[in-house]
Subunit: 360 residues, 2 copies
Amino acid sequence: MMNVYNFSAGPAGLPKEVMQKAQAEFIDWNGLGTSVMEISHRSKEFIKVAEEAEQDLRDLLNIPDNYKVLFCQGGARAQFAAVPLNLLGNSTKATYIDAGYWAQSAVKEAKKYCEVDVVDAKMIKEGKLAVMHASDWKIDPQSAYVHFCPNETIDGVEISELPDTQLPIVADMSSNILSREIDVSRYGVIYAGAQKNIGPAGICIAIVRDDLLGLAHELLPSFISYKVLAEKDSMFNTPPTFAWYLSGLVFKWLKEQGGVGVIEKRNAEKASILYDYIDSSDFYTNDVHTQNRSRMNVPFQLAKPELDGLFLQQAQEKGLVSLKGHRVVGGMRASIYNAMPIEGVKALVEFMKEFAADNA
Amino acid sequence: MMNVYNFSAGPAGLPKEVMQKAQAEFIDWNGLGTSVMEISHRSKEFIKVAEEAEQDLRDLLNIPDNYKVLFCQGGARAQFAAVPLNLLGNSTKATYIDAGYWAQSAVKEAKKYCEVDVVDAKMIKEGKLAVMHASDWKIDPQSAYVHFCPNETIDGVEISELPDTQLPIVADMSSNILSREIDVSRYGVIYAGAQKNIGPAGICIAIVRDDLLGLAHELLPSFISYKVLAEKDSMFNTPPTFAWYLSGLVFKWLKEQGGVGVIEKRNAEKASILYDYIDSSDFYTNDVHTQNRSRMNVPFQLAKPELDGLFLQQAQEKGLVSLKGHRVVGGMRASIYNAMPIEGVKALVEFMKEFAADNA
């Protein structure tokens, strides 16, 4: 088996150690003679898995006691509907900060449920894509909440600031949760589809401040009700137990790495290695201003786009896979989530150098 | 590793051959050097998995071309909301046949969205729990659809008749799909959470007749919209790819067994072995009338309920696990879905005989 570095944007590569452990105990977990996915979610064995996963996540993100941690189904797209249906209360309006594709997707769904005040925060700065400073985002004080997506996987844009508001802040952290330290107490709701930095596709984490649990729309489906999920320990319906278990293994792996602070430094180093090389090269470009470059998703273009196919083919031959850019923007994209080791990024840069030398 | 027979009601045991294959290729699937859960759902490799799973399911159930097969998230509880939100159209009413716990749970959710006409179909026949014949179910012709649950996992009740109506019939087949032959063309919508007869928890199949795709409520969340899922090949949002892949392996296993007709005979034989022994015994009882006994879930009570704990403990020591009845009814329950081999049922009966002899 070739050593493969997987740059998939999601579903993304999981830590090798996690996958090896899960494989070893796949059909005989915990000495039970069955898989963890073949036991009741209400068994004491699975409840221990569930509780440990929650506690490890609480430890990793320093989640205050007045926040519920919910394990949901349906991914971030489900939250695009769940957020307004859970949070609008008597309000008819919400503010959405638009810095890219996923923020816009959230807006589209929210418009079913309320008047959406969209703040277009994109701008061009020194010829590069950038995001306006948070102090320039005009937020309607009548809004029930302010929604933003701090990391746009397709555009490769990351926002390190928060909306400057007393309103509840809702963040779609699908692609950068656990990649850097955050102050959870500044948010009303944080949600994140698992398939980038948490675990396999099919589970979504929502971290919800207690005081926001009583604002649901009467037509909110129960299975995406924050209140119902909180009351039922995320077991109102049968949860995706295997995905929950794997997410728990990832949380333990993160703790073993030294926690979010350590992984943040590693992520910064990985991103620097890649961006520094791109900036030093005449053959590759990245269109995002340094102020907003994502540490997770690095889109780049070749000077000769007609060589895209050859680049992908030769990269794959070297075990550097899933580098094709998103279908809506083209080019290349290297997603370098927590599970990507520094060696993977170095191997990519090495290949990019060779490819540029051969094809300049 | 002890040979274990797993009688869990769900998440339930999967076929041993499926689990062994999934373990073998867990970290190096299809020669890619990664897991199937670590690749894009839009990759050609995963799309092949997705399409084969759908085609195999179509073959197994003889699904007509005018039905869409959707792979959803959220389980059957999500469908409890999705069904009225997708199907009500201009109607304000739906009829629900009540034969047990899960039908009642569907009613509770549906009441958020419409007037629910509940037909209480439960009755006592010769001292046993039974269900009235379909010809006695009074169906309001103003209903948008008629919903029923043909297998009640908790009560151990199965219904082999269909509502006698021209209205679209909606069936929650979570616990008996693929266990017996059905005529799909008689239904409007069939849905089934995977974690009993299909695959792991976290995925739900919906089989929807084409003409029912345009009736959605304006507040229907897009990720549970039948129309959106149909248009996007169940990839509106990132699907639970690993659960989809495992479900596909189960479908292939079913075909290898000879298809649904063969598995139906095996299921009938398994159920007979267990019910025949219970009926012949003075120590065990089952409360369901023969006309409505479930082939999938066999609840039974000990003559001395104070021995329940000892029964469970000794069963477990023999590798007969997850026999505890549902928390709302107590006693024992043996769930004998497709993946349970006949040998497992025979081993259970053998143990039950010994236990009765030791404790009569």
